[in-house]
């Protein structure tokens, strides 16, 4: 490493991975550190949560993606603190990792607006573990209703609540409606799954608020076609086991999913520089932080205004572009060339709503319904990076499209979970759905 610069990248999401790709086989030594061994293709995570795809189909080992880059080491680890004066990152076990350049791309999670305890009852969708947990809750709700109806002759209403009308909320609500009305209807002999209610709550006056108003309206119409009850101007203000409060009404529900609010990784706050109220770091036009031109913050963790005055949005194309830009700035430094200002190029966006339903705003044009959905499908499949095989994913989707089948609907977890779930459904307990991977206690506590 003697006379080559060392670049440390924290995070193997879109930002970190694109930075690494731009540095592949360049005259630098790169170490990419991630808490997981896999990159997750976030835009398809909801397909895992709703049983169309398996976890392995939307995730790929980071070191596999980068295995042709001879100058990049990939390390499983969690950045915990910084000693910027010493150009050092500290990992969770205290290991010190020195760097010449540092690119921080640790992403964001959902924010619960100060009610972190809600996460237990209303998980968000950011990781593979989240997706598997959400899948478990959705399908377990149907199973428990069927069981209760078979054993006692009746069951509680099957209500699903999705909080937040952004892309994830819309995708989840549309998919659950499709599950209830199509995928499961012939598999349950006792209950009528098509009577399940899916309620979407959105605080503003429209869903998918980053699109033009007419597309938002189209998205709402398409959701309602699928059977979703769309509640606008409606904030969820309390969440308890088995129910949520929206306005002055309590709504009983088996499953609550959280798809609103953004909190940047807490790593940003540990840099000792200015952050906004979502924890994002205010970066310079070259994406570096004040006083440390060798430290970049990119992706969902970065806050930077565009020329027209709006901040760069927290979307994957922006993260990728920032990753590439930070890498190029480093390479420019090493060649003694000036850095370029970062400018986000918005190539448009699209949101899927359900089977053959979507909206898209690309190349200055607007699309809705089947055409938008094919556009979305095409771009997402083409974009899958180094995954199992683009062809298989495409075929799997085509199959699911034709058959309306959701073949990955596995409820995993142990018998204790079931036992508690049953107790909960029968109103004798309150501890059912505490199954998020993050709730797995430290092994020391477990063994101690």
């Amino acid at each position: 490493m003697a006379d080559r610069a060392t670049v440390v990248i924290i995070g193997g999401g879109f930002g970190g991975l694109w930075a690494a790709k731009a540095l592949a086989n360049k005259p630098v030594d790169v170490m990419l550190i991630d808490r997981k061994n896999h990159h997750v293709f976030q835009p398809l995570l909801y397909q895992v949560a709703t049983a169309v795809l398996s976890p392995g189909e939307v995730a790929s080992p980071i070191r596999r993606i980068l295995h042709n880059a001879k100058n990049i080491e990939v390390i499983l680890g969690e950045a915990d603190a910084f000693e910027l004066e010493k150009n050092t990152v500290l990992l969770e076990d205290g290991s010190a990792v020195p760097f010449d350049y540092l690119i921080i791309a640790a992403g964001a999670r959902h924010a619960y607006f100060g009610n972190d305890e809600w996460e237990t009852w209303a998980p968000g969708l950011k990781t593979l573990e989240d997706a598997v947990e959400i899948r478990r809750r959705i399908f377990l709700a149907f199973e428990l209703a069927e069981r209760k109806a078979a054993l006692t002759g009746s069951h509680d209403p099957l209500n699903f609540v999705v909080v937040g009308g952004g892309p994830t909320g819309v995708e989840l609500a549309g998919a659950i409606a499709d599950i209830a009305r199509q995928a499961l209807k012939n598999d349950f002999k006792v209950i009528d799954t098509t009577k399940a209610r899916v309620m979407l709550f959105e605080g503003s006056d429209r869903v998918l608020g980053t699109y033009d108003r007419d597309l938002s309206q189209s998205a709402k119409d398409q959701l309602e076609d699928l059977g979703v009850e769309v509640n606008l101007n409606s904030f969820v203000t309390e969440i308890e086991p088995g129910r949520v409060r929206a306005g002055d009404k309590w709504i009983e529900c088996e499953v609550v999913l959280w798809a609103t609010g953004v909190a940047a990784s807490p790593l940003g706050a540990r840099l000792g520089v200015e952050t906004d109220n979502a924890g994002r770091v205010r970066v310079a036009p070259d994406l570096s932080i004040p006083g440390h031109p060798n430290v970049f913050v990119i992706g969902d963790m970065a806050y930077l205004l565009q020329e027209h005055g709006e901040p760069i949005p927290g979307v994957s194309p922006a993260a990728m572009q920032m990753g590439t830009a930070a890498a190029r700035s480093i390479l420019a430094d090493l060649k003694g060339k000036p850095r370029k200002k970062f400018a986000y190029i918005d190539r448009g966006s699209m949101a899927t709503i359900g089977r053959s339903k979507a909206i898209a705003q690309v190349f200055g044009m607007k699309f809705r319904g089947l055409i938008a959905w094919f556009l979305w499908l095409f771009l997402h499949v083409m974009f899958l990076i180094g995954f199992r095989n683009r062809l298989f994913v495409l075929m799997g989707w085509f199959w699911a499209y034709l058959t309306r089948e959701r073949s990955a609907r596995l409820i995993t977890g142990d018998a204790e979970e079931l036992r508690n779930a049953v107790v909960f459904m029968e109103g004798e307990g309150s501890g059912t759905f505490v199954g998020d991977a993050s709730a797995v206690p430290r092994s020391k506590e477990r063994s101690g």
Copy 2:
């Protein structure tokens, strides 16, 4: 249900599922109860544990498999006790399920010969959760070695121990050797994964002891070709975190997998009838239990001698045949016809060892190597029941065969797990690998 007999089936494995299939759309009302919502295609579970297939590719929702049977309800639940005089099964929450006929097919797990605490350190492979946990341990071991080597310049020897030389032990050992020598070798930049050692310990004088001696020898040769160290006449007598004892030697190892011993479901013991020392229920020639001709015990839970004096083996074809036979006895009863004695038809067997390596003993002929492997592949793919799609699985395998890729190698679990894993690898703790799904505590404890 008034004048139709009610048949309750406990367990949706091969035995229970084949019983249900034989009763589909017959003049009986059937309730199938399973702790999971999915049937697992056990013979391919090791492919999940070794990252060739995803969980969704070897499992299918039970109610999906049976959705065309109008007379079958599928219920998520765990049988807990029996009141045979009242013809009632009690579920885990005390729910009473009445029956006219009962088929118990709850299977078996691995036995630790009185050392149940070993399960924490040496998981067996019976469920999807087991498979995902074993996958996590295998790939985490490589990740932690890479990390340690990158950060400190050296790492501990990468040793894998597999206990038991039956089909599962042979499959796992062969697959891990292939992972180390082929799948990962180009993805790790710091460590040399091909130096990992895979040690198989078998107490008897040969692996795959149910086959003819020359095939056992061939299997051993094929394993050694793959780089597995096969230790025969070698019992593992102690297991501790990070090491096992075989004979008078302690062997340091990152991962220990348990593939020996059989313990039938504890449900058998709760019937109040005679069981053997593995907990299997001694059944009559019609598979019913003494004193209760309407109660059948089948599959891995049943103990019945064949005409030549050997017990029926605990293999999936036997479970399927018993399921069908129990169902036919019930239908015979209802028609006033006599029951038939159960006779197991052994159509041969095959065991896979690794990529293009296997042995087979079918139709009175013996095969080994590539031909046996193709036979194995062909039969297993053809046999996959109602899964995502036989074609996709076949293509996925073909792809894996061509590329030697193992694309499903996801390490899932949360950051705390990683933290503990790191601490463990560095010798500061003993609580690392406590990640089996069954270790997830009751949610009440968690929330309380």
